[in-house]
């Protein structure tokens, strides 16, 4: 106050910069810490110094071992003071210093004294500190006190002991488990948080004992749990019990569902939300079960608290993935969230709406999203782009507005991941929606005119080379492609040259013009670009004559390399320069890695550019390539369908075998994927002996044994059957795995010379009608259905047995028929599939209760509607 008058602004500046720790230095503070050793302690001053030390640690400063030890020893002196505030700081400081075992001994007696003190605050804190720094041997000494503390009348002391117990359970489980009687008593405590901590500890002690957890949940769900936190815990444990018991009970009411539903009416919001979320995450939840949970979440959507809105919309977003119909009621509330201040909430709302919206609301939604896209971060934008892609696949008629949207955002600023997501989406839409192809390709062309990412440019050029020549007017793409040769770096230029050549090879009319362009590329300053141009000019006959490009040339230039790249790479590495030139035929074609591996990764997103550009998903391609590389099966024709793998062994047996059924026109090939799970064994000459005596129409024609099957590296063996062409023959096969087993020395990994022949019984496998059905989506079921006419229609009734939910019934029908569900609504299920053989449909399914099915079919296509009566 005695300061001379200064301008007000300056004053404020000073104030803003003021900090009691301004210019603080570690060395000086460590010097100050000597006051801890004073015979006459000044508690206030000591507290200040500890605060400074803690401040330094908090700012990320570290003490050397020597410094830490010194501080620790002087801090222990402060136990002499009886000042409660100082003692609290001492406790915190000791925890922060985390002393080593030999140092801990110094404070043990002081802490143990505090632990038995009359002051509750001392007891509670001493327990927490001691348990934090102690080891197993000391723990047995203080165990008695801890057990007492758990049932202490003071809730703070009890909580301190219980929470310490939760931490100690990780390091000394055998000791903590002895406290379960006391913990059990504490669960009944009247103090809210003691109950919460006791419940958490008790559950952790018993978590491996399913029966005990079940009992705990049963008793507590009946009684009253006081604290909202404890109630949340109980909900979590209850859903765990539900999950584990679900496997045993197929029908009837879900146990404990009533409890969860009751929690929806709890007065604490956190409990309501925890219960609602638990219900939405139940396995195979029915719409009836979902409804009350959705209702409370809907109320949360219009809450004034952002946290509540976020929690609700995030949960509904997840529900929309599996039960879009259940969420549609919330759509109006959700739409108002698009303008939410909190961008996370807005993004979640939009993606939820995109999942649940119907065709008519798409345009309106897109308008709202456009305004919104400019002010959110890339990570949110990617989420929106992915949602729009799936929306477009769902409503192909809307491709124009959605594709426009994608191309607009493609032109705006954005990072690589975001741009890649957009390009991938456009590529997928082009591939799946034929009408969107031309506009999509033009959008991509415009994008590469001003694209800063080499990777995306080359990928798009490659894609253009495949799709462009097939369009009605391929010439319009040439300009965009040739511009690349002028303006881009060498990698993109080389890509552009290849794309030009593809146009030349595929479209004869364009050939002379392409040759002109390619010849200009001969003077490029990059080797690769020149080499490519030369190669293409020569192979395509660029010496002037306009000749039709031969099939073999096309195949040579643009055919897919039917050799796994890994094998090629290995062979090239092994190749030594010599007189003999490298022979590509010597590269093994067999795929070493299990092609199924990628199938097992659940929820894999469509890979866009990196996937093969045409046709169904890549696994079918992988199978086709695999099968055609085996000479015995090469003449079977085109692969119609490959089934999902069917396990023929129980989990965790010595040998794991599953089978994939490949259906050809006149043949069926069984691919047995075998895995040897015994490290001490090497299997050789592995075959599966298939007994087809119960499948009369099948005759075995070829087997391909697996030469060797080492530990943990899966291999395949094949058996092929002939069946009457055009008949969907069904039958049952019994299987036996036959092999020669050799002992392997685990230390050296070498196998013994002699082996023993052995057999291993596998489970039976069946070929059923569904194996002949190809799942195909139709974009508009109703149109397709109407176009078939009434004479194709048969009406039949089949029972489907009692089913809990629509989803379950749909799954049952999918499994039986192997068809693609197209539209599922409350009233009807629509299915579509392509049947493998030209023949009358006949189904041999028998069901228990009536479900009315209308069947329309013509020679190869088959539609279904199923109407529950």
């Amino acid at each position: 106050m005695a300061q001379p008058l200064v301008k007000k602004d300056d004053d404020r500046d000073d104030e803003a910069d003021y900090s009691p720790f301004l210019g603080i230095e570690k060395g000086a503070v460590l010097q100050e810490a000597r006051v801890f050793n004073d015979p006459q302690l000044d508690p206030r001053r000591c507290s200040q110094v500890i605060t400074k030390l803690l401040y330094l640690l908090n700012q990320g400063e570290t003490f050397t071992k020597v410094e830490a030890t010194e501080v620790f020893f002087s801090v222990t002196k402060l136990f002499q003071s009886r000042d409660i505030g100082l003692r609290r700081m001492v406790y915190v400081m000791i925890k922060e210093l985390s002393p080593s075992a030999d140092e801990v001994i110094i404070v043990t007696s002081s802490l143990m004294k505090d632990m038995t003190s009359k002051t509750d605050m001392y007891r509670a804190n001493a327990i927490r500190v001691l348990c934090r720094i102690t080891d197993g041997t000391l723990l047995t000494q203080i165990e008695r006190y801890l057990k007492q503390a758990i049932v202490d009348k003071n809730p703070v002391v009890a909580s301190a002991a219980l929470v310490s117990g939760i931490h100690l359970l990780q390091t000394n489980p055998e000791i903590v488990k002895r406290w379960s009687n006391e913990v059990q008593e504490a669960v009944q405590s009247r103090a809210a948080l003691v109950q919460f901590h006791a419940l958490a500890l008790l559950h952790q002690i018993r978590q491996n004992d399913r029966l005990a957890v079940n009992k705990l949940v049963t008793s507590l769900t009946r009684g009253s749990v006081r604290s909202p936190l404890a109630q949340c815990l109980l909900i979590r444990y209850t859903s765990q019990v539900i999950r584990e018991s679900a496997n045993n009970t197929q029908t009837g009411d879900r146990p404990f569902y009533d409890f969860l539903e009751g929690c929806l009416r709890h007065k604490a919001e956190m409990v309501i939300f925890e219960a609602a979320r638990a219900i939405t995450e139940l396995n195979g939840v029915t719409s009836r079960e979902l409804t009350p949970a959705i209702t409370v979440l809907q109320l949360f959507l219009s809450s004034s608290k952002p946290v509540l809105r976020f929690a609700a919309v995030r949960t509904l977003n997840k529900v929309a993935m599996t039960h879009p119909m259940a969420v549609t009621n919330c759509n109006i509330d959700m739409e108002s969230l698009i303008s939410d201040q909190n961008r996370s909430i807005a993004t979640l709302a939009i993606t939820t709406l995109l999942k649940t919206g119907n065709e008519s609301s798409v345009d309106r939604l897109m308008k709202q999203i456009t305004n919104f896209m400019s002010d959110i971060a890339d990570e949110f934008k990617i989420v929106v782009v992915e949602a729009i892609r799936s929306l477009c696949l769902k409503f192909p008629l809307k491709h124009r507005s959605l594709m426009n949207f994608l191309s607009n955002i493609l032109r705006e600023e954005g990072g690589f991941e975001y741009k890649k997501a957009i390009v991938d989406s456009i590529v997928i839409l082009i591939r799946d929606i034929p009408e969107a192809k031309e506009s999509g390709l033009l959008h991509l062309c415009e994008f590469i005119e001003d694209c800063e990412f080499t990777y995306l440019s080359t990928q798009i050029l490659h894609f253009l080379g495949i799709e462009g020549p097939k369009t009605s007017d391929p010439s319009k793409y040439i300009r965009y492609i040739y511009n690349r040769v002028h303006l881009e770096n060498a990698t993109v230029r080389a890509g552009a040259v290849s794309t030009l050549a593809k146009f030349g090879a595929m479209v004869d009319a364009l050939k002379p013009r392409i040759f002109v362009l390619l010849r200009r590329c001969l003077f490029d300053n990059d080797d690769e670009v020149r080499d490519r141009a030369t190669l293409y000019l020569n192979t395509l006959g660029g010496d002037g004559a306009v000749v039709e490009t031969g099939e073999d040339v096309k195949e040579f230039l643009f055919g897919s390399l039917d050799i796994p790249l890994v094998n090629l790479e290995n062979s090239l590495k092994n190749y030594e320069l010599s007189e003999e030139s490298f022979d590509i035929d010597s590269v093994p074609k067999e795929v070493k890695t299990q092609p199924l591996a990628e199938k097992k990764a659940p929820g894999k997103k469509p890979t866009g550019l990196s996937a093969p550009p045409t046709g169904p998903p890549s696994t079918v391609d992988a199978y086709e390539r695999l099968l055609s590389s085996i000479p015995e099966f090469a003449n079977f024709g085109k692969l119609f369908k490959s089934s999902a793998p069917v396990e023929l062994t129980e989990a965790e047996t010595e040998y794991a075998v599953n089978v994939v059924k490949h259906i050809f026109d006149g043949h069926v090939v069984f691919q047995f994927n075998c895995t040897n799970t015994i490290p001490e064994q090497l299997l050789e000459n592995v075959t599966v002996i298939v007994d087809a005596s119960e499948a009369e129409e099948f005759a075995e024609v070829a087997t391909k044994p697996l030469r060797s099957l080492p530990y943990d590296s899966p291999g395949q063996t094949f058996v092929a059957f002939e069946k009457p062409e055009g008949v969907s023959a069904v039958g049952k096969f019994s299987n036996m795995l036959r092999f020669i087993v050799k002992e392997v020395d685990p230390s050296t990994g070498e196998a013994e010379e002699d082996g023993v022949e052995d057999e291993y019984q596998l489970e039976d496998l069946e070929v059923v009608a569904a194996d002949y059905m190809l799942k195909v989506g139709v974009s508009n079921f109703r149109n397709a259905w109407e176009s078939m006419g009434a004479d194709c229609e048969r009406v039949d009734e089949y029972g489907l047995g009692p089913r809990d939910s629509l989803a379950e019934a749909v799954n049952a029908v999918i499994n039986l028929l192997g068809m693609q569900p197209c539209e599922v609504s409350i009233q009807c299920l629509f299915f579509f599939g392509i049947y493998a053989v030209d023949m009358d449909m006949h189904f041999t399914f028998t069901f228990l209760t009536a479900l009315h099915w209308t069947v329309k079919y013509h020679v190869v296509n088959c539609f279904f509607t199923a109407i529950p009566v």
Partner: protein, 177 residues
């Protein structure tokens, strides 16, 4: 999810993103630089938001962060991706209200740094090793601000009022027994 609700960190930053007080309870950020990077990221991404009346929420690198600002102080509480958002918000509110009570309503950086000892004790009372200890601000403040002399001390060391307080405590204790 069967685990106990847990808090991964509690962070208190100033208006420039500098630390006032932080406490980490999980190994997700092993080094100080990782912690600072996380703080910087949440600070910059939340800076533009208005979290002054109601607590706001966002997701960062697979974590849920709830936050609230007052004056030049930014409060954050982080939890796992699948944590109940409302539990985290309760912890944040508990911390926020405690600080408000402890600083007697003048909640700003200057005041917070001058009473850093109280803030650190407050953090210590809210969460222990990731497990929520207490979320009621009044209880937390009661535990932090009990600046009296140890009741076990000889009576001669106590003032009259302290002696009275001790006597009252003894009485209530014996009544409760």
């Amino acid at each position: 999810m069967e685990s106990c609700p847990s808090v991964k960190n509690i962070i208190l930053l100033d208006s420039e993103g500098q630390r006032v007080a932080v406490k980490y309870y999980s190994d997700d950020w092993p080094t100080n630089s990782a912690k600072e990077a996380f703080e910087k990221s949440i600070f910059t991404k939340t800076q533009k938001t208005n979290a002054r009346t109601e607590a706001e929420i966002a997701m960062f690198e697979n974590h849920i962060v709830v936050y609230k600002f007052v004056q030049d102080l930014h409060f954050f509480v982080t939890g796992a991706e699948d944590e109940n958002e409302l539990i985290l918000a309760t912890v944040l509110q508990g911390f926020f209200d405690s600080v408000d009570l402890l600083l007697r309503g003048t909640v700003d950086k200057k005041e917070a740094l001058e009473n850093l000892d109280l803030i650190l004790l407050c953090l210590d009372e809210i969460v222990d090793g990731g497990i929520i200890l207490e979320t009621d601000a009044n209880v937390i403040v009661g535990k932090v601000a009990s600046h009296s002399i140890d009741s076990g001390a000889p009576l001669s060391e106590q003032t009259i009022s302290q002696a009275l307080a001790t006597a009252r405590e003894h009485l209530t204790r014996s009544l409760l027994k």
